[in-house]
């Protein structure tokens, strides 16, 4: 942690015009960055400087800037969402860095997440996996059961909530040496599998989601656990185990 107020930094940033051209690292100097600034505010300052110099600013994804929308990404000094744990890039603050440090900033690297521009990648594969089964098949009617008609044990509801906390940022995929999306898919499968409302079509769901996941080119899980370490929301590996169990039993019944 740094206590000095103004940091002078060297930034090595991945620049790539689009998905058809080759990218490369560019080096930038930036000075007097407040330790109270967020990492993305530091990039804002850099971009302001680049614009004033007549250069193109660095494209990066971001939106809510409070760690919940899952839009921001960035591989910082070799780690998804940077050196701090349990947070997204937008919650990373410059007090985590030292004066004079060189910071390397890359996009998510995964075959299933092609680069769009600079640090922006295409994560629509996640949406397609969700469209294959990440839901409970219930129409809007206003005539469903009363919300308290089915009791759900608090422990189950809490576990479902812990799984549902996933923000779909893709840090797990970017971190995994196999580019596996099993933490992401496992979390969604688990959320519904733990709730009585989701049990009804649990088998169909897990089969369809795993199939879509494989088709998108995500790799397999070899239990290194890197995804869990880098997940900003602390999604547990337990969810992958639960998905595997659900998948096995569904295969036995339906496969």
């Amino acid at each position: 942690m740094s206590t000095k107020k103004g940091l002078n930094l060297t930034l090595k940033i991945w620049r790539q015009k689009n998905n058809k051209t080759k990218g490369q690292f560019e080096t930038y100097k930036i000075s007097d960055v407040s330790t109270d600034s967020s990492f993305l505010e530091m990039l804002d300052i850099l971009n302001e400087k680049l614009i004033n110099e007549g250069k193109e600013p660095v494209a990066f994804d971001h939106d809510c800037r409070e760690g919940i929308c899952g839009m921001c990404s960035l591989y910082i000094n070799g780690r998804a969402h940077g050196p701090d744990t349990g947070i997204t890039t937008c919650q990373l603050h410059m007090r985590m860095f030292k004066d004079g440090e060189t910071i390397t900033i890359e996009p998510w690297r995964s075959a299933a997440f092609p680069v769009i521009r600079d640090l922006v990648v295409d994560r629509s594969a996640f949406d397609r996996v969700m469209a294959a089964g990440g839901f409970i098949s219930v129409n809007t009617s206003g005539n469903t059961l009363d919300a308290n008609a089915i009791l759900v044990p608090k422990e189950d509801a809490d576990k479902a909530m812990d799984a549902a906390a996933c923000i779909g940022c893709g840090a797990c995929v970017a971190t995994c040496k196999n580019g596996s999306a099993m933490l992401f898919v496992g979390a969604k499968v688990s959320q519904y599998a733990l709730l009585p409302q989701g049990r009804v079509e649990a088998q169909r769901r897990v089969l369809n989601m795993v199939k879509a996941m494989d088709e998108e080119g995500f790799g397999n899980c070899s239990n290194t656990g890197a995804c869990e370490v880098e997940c900003p929301k602390g999604i547990s590996l337990e969810n992958i185990a639960r998905m595997n169990r659900e998948y096995m039993s569904a295969m036995v019944d339906k496969g």
């Binding site: 015009k17 689009n18 407040s34 109270d36 600034s37 967020s38 505010e41 804002d44 971009n47 614009i51 007549g54 600013p57 494209a59 994804d61 971001h62 939106d63 809510c64 800037r65 409070e66 760690g67 919940i68 929308c69 899952g70 839009m71 349990g86 947070i87 919650q91 603050h93 521009r117 994560r123 629509s124 949406d127 969700m130 469209a131 990440g134 839901f135 409970i136 129409n139 809007t140 206003g142 469903t144 059961l145 919300a147 308290n148 089915i150 009791l151 759900v152 044990p153 608090k154 509801a157 479902a160 909530m161 549902a164 923000i167 779909g168 959320q191 519904y192 709730l195 409302q197 989701g198």
Partner: protein, 670 residues
């Protein structure tokens, strides 16, 4: 004036919606796939509307600027969603939720709309539980509730501190199901650039593909705007960086009236501003006011010592703390509505009692030490620990607080590097939500036929101040349970229309206008980035159209905004190219609209010579600093009609508000 027909159905309040539904026209299931609907925005309102319309069989095209519909800013709502379930048996009812919402809105919302909202609120909870939303539960397996500001019952359902996320992911899952079936065509990373009107009806939009820069024409039989609020006009707000007014403003320029633009909610509990490079403000959920007590030092010397770093808040004795909300408003205490809490914080800080060590000297404490003690003692009793030590009490209390608010505490610590279990949180009000928006009738239709507006983007349900946990309720009520009925009534006339062609003059000229404007900005050769102008606008808005407004300040604001706007068009510098991803170009279009809207907000605030809800005019306050409404002259919705580039020329239309079912009173939380 015929345009301003609110179309409120006749009959008694509690039967209006039912009777209306019974008599609206329908589109038969076999005709629905002949109808196309565009939905702009995929937050709670847009996402739930798109999913429901697609389930019913319409062809839906949904648009969002984010890379996935799951990221819309509804996701950031923390505390909860209200519903009149009365699961706690503490006297809640549809009428009471209706009453609290009207009163909370300072008697500036429509009775019929608000009653309908309260009526369908219970269905929302049922629907969401059926979708697998993991709401917080009691050990018996039933749903738990918490309390929010401005009410005296527990009617708020929650999913930890991520209720908005869970509800949005519920709507997103319903959308995903329809995307998988091909019933929704999803356009991620797309921005609506203009509305297309054909023969007086909304028939499509011009959109920009934010990846390729391509300008696209999309037609439909109706267009639904669900693009959220306009808080980012202040530059710093709790809104997402991309949140913008452009879709709503574009339809305003095409004929939709814009209602009550000056009604802005300044949320009392946000993390104070740290410096000039700051890009956005972070909210600390209102739910924290269930457990936290708000205070500043009683003695001004203590406030100064704290600011200078010579005194720690935990070392100020109980009797030297001023719990000013409990002092001024004993009946509601720390749970007064947001507008009241925000103004009270400003009052203390203006008087010199602020605690933040920065230029503004703003900031007050939100302190959990009393709650940790109280809950620790309760826990000890529950666990049969007799004579617990102080440490045991603290540990048990801390564990309780951690379970309820752990993620919020962690978020606070990451941002500020302070541990809120030890040092009280520092908070200060920040722009959070906009009650104003596009004027709509009871059917949620704007003054442009076929153009519907839902969620925060419309003006309809919260009057001059929104109660906590009611935004999620309104978004989902509009999208799941209101719009799908009312839009069918409109679309029933379109079953023989056939596809709307996109090669008409209307589409071509709208497209050309967009392309010309892009060319203008790309070739402007300006001198300053778009943020430079946005920050200037934000400063004017916060200082002169913020928490305390005066006629002089508002007149100055109008003039200054005009100057910034002129400078912007002359000197804004947009790097890069138009035919690729260009985030500066995106921002430029958004700020161009904010500059026009900001002026209208100031004009609206100047015109409204009273204080109500979030609109506080310093020249209309009581001797003890409370807001002073003027029901004789201002009990109306201010609806502005666009008249061209000079915003000062906008024409005011008034929709008079009628209260048949509720006694209009001075709002008191004392």
């Amino acid at each position: 004036m015929s345009k301003l027909d609110s179309k409120i159905p006749g009959g008694p309040l509690k039967d209006k919606w039912k009777n209306h539904k019974d008599h609206m026209n329908l589109v038969a299931p076999n005709n629905r796939d002949k109808i196309d609907i565009i939905v702009v925005g995929t937050g709670l309102a847009g996402g739930s509307a798109a999913a429901t319309l697609a389930e019913q069989g319409y062809n839906v095209k949904a648009f969002c600027y984010q890379d996935s519909p799951r990221r819309a800013h509804s996701i950031a709502a923390q505390g909860g969603i209200n519903a009149a379930k009365n699961y706690q048996g503490d006297g809640d009812s549809t009428y009471r939720l209706f009453y609290d919402t009207i009163k909370g809105g300072d008697y500036r919302a429509r009775e019929a709309n608000v009653y309908r909202l309260a009526e369908v609120s219970a269905n929302i909870i049922d629907q969401c539980v059926a979708q697998g939303v993991p709401f917080g539960r009691e050990y018996g397996g039933q749903l738990d509730n918490r309390s929010f500001g401005g009410v005296q019952v527990k009617r708020t359902f929650y999913a930890k501190g991520q209720t908005g996320q869970q509800l949005l992911l519920g709507a997103y899952s319903a959308m995903s199901r329809q995307i998988g079936k091909g019933r929704i065509k999803m356009y991620n990373r797309h921005e609506m650039m203009d509305l297309v009107i054909v023969d007086g009806k909304a028939r499509g939009i011009i959109a920009r593909n934010l990846v390729t820069g391509e300008i696209e024409k999309h037609s439909a039989h109706a267009v639904v705007i669900a693009s959220g609020g306009y808080g980012n006009v202040y530059f710093l707000s709790t809104n997402a960086m991309g949140s913008n007014v452009s879709a709503a403003w574009k339809i305003h320029k095409k004929g939709a009236y814009f209602a009550n633009p000056c009604y802005v909610q300044i949320h009392p509990t946000c993390i104070p501003v740290h410096g000039t490079q700051q890009s956005k403000l972070t909210l600390m959920s209102e739910s924290l006011r269930n457990s936290g007590r708000i205070w500043v030092p009683k003695n001004i010397e203590d406030a100064i010592a704290i600011r200078e770093g010579n005194l720690k808040p935990e070392n100020i004795a109980e009797e030297n703390r001023d719990y000013y909300l409990e002092r001024r408003y004993p009946a509601f205490g720390n749970l007064v509505p947001r507008d009241v809490a925000s103004r009270a914080a400003k009052e203390r800080c203006d008087a010199g009692f602020g605690i933040e060590n920065n230029d503004t000297k703003e900031g007050v404490y939100l302190d959990f030490s009393s709650e940790i003690l109280k809950k620790g003692k309760e826990s000890a009793t529950e666990k049969n620990i007799h004579n617990p030590s102080q440490q045991q009490i603290y540990d048990l209390g801390k564990a309780w607080v951690e379970e309820k608010y752990g993620n919020l505490f962690q978020m606070y610590e990451k941002i500020t590097a302070d541990n809120p279990y030890v040092t009280p949180m520092k908070i200060y009000p920040a722009v959070h939500y906009t009650m104003g928006g596009v004027w709509v009738d009871y059917n949620l239709q704007s003054t442009i036929p076929g153009c519907f507006v839902i969620g925060e983007a419309n003006f309809s349900d919260h009057g001059a101040n929104r109660l906590g946990a009611s935004a999620l309720m309104q978004g989902l009520a509009d999208g799941y349970f209101v719009l799908p009925y009312t839009i069918a009534d409109y679309l029933s006339a379109d079953i023989r229309t056939g596809k709307i062609p996109t090669d008409s003059e209307a589409f071509n000229s709208a497209e050309k206008e967009v392309k010309d404007k892009i060319d203008f900005f790309m070739n402007n050769n300006g001198t300053h980035s778009v943020d430079h102008f946005h920050k200037q606008l934000g400063n004017i808005m916060w200082n002169k159209v913020g928490m305390g407004r005066t006629p002089e300040g508002l007149r100055e604001a109008i003039k200054e905004i005009e100057e910034v706007r002129a400078d912007f068009w002359k000197n804004v510098k947009v790097p890069g190219e138009a035919n690729s991803m260009n985030m500066e170009l995106e921002k430029t279009f958004r700020v161009a609209d904010f500059l026009e809207l900001g002026q209208l907000m100031a004009k609206d605030a100047l015109e409204r010579n009273e204080s109500c809800g979030g609109h506080f005019r310093e020249d209309h306050s009581t001797p003890d600093g409370e807001a002073e409404r003027d029901d004789v002259n201002y009990m109306y919705v201010a609806c502005w009609e666009y008249q061209g580039l000079d915003i000062n020329q906008e024409i005011l239309h008034k929709e008079t508000l009628v209260y048949d079912n509720i006694e209009v009173k001075q709002r008191s939380y004392k």
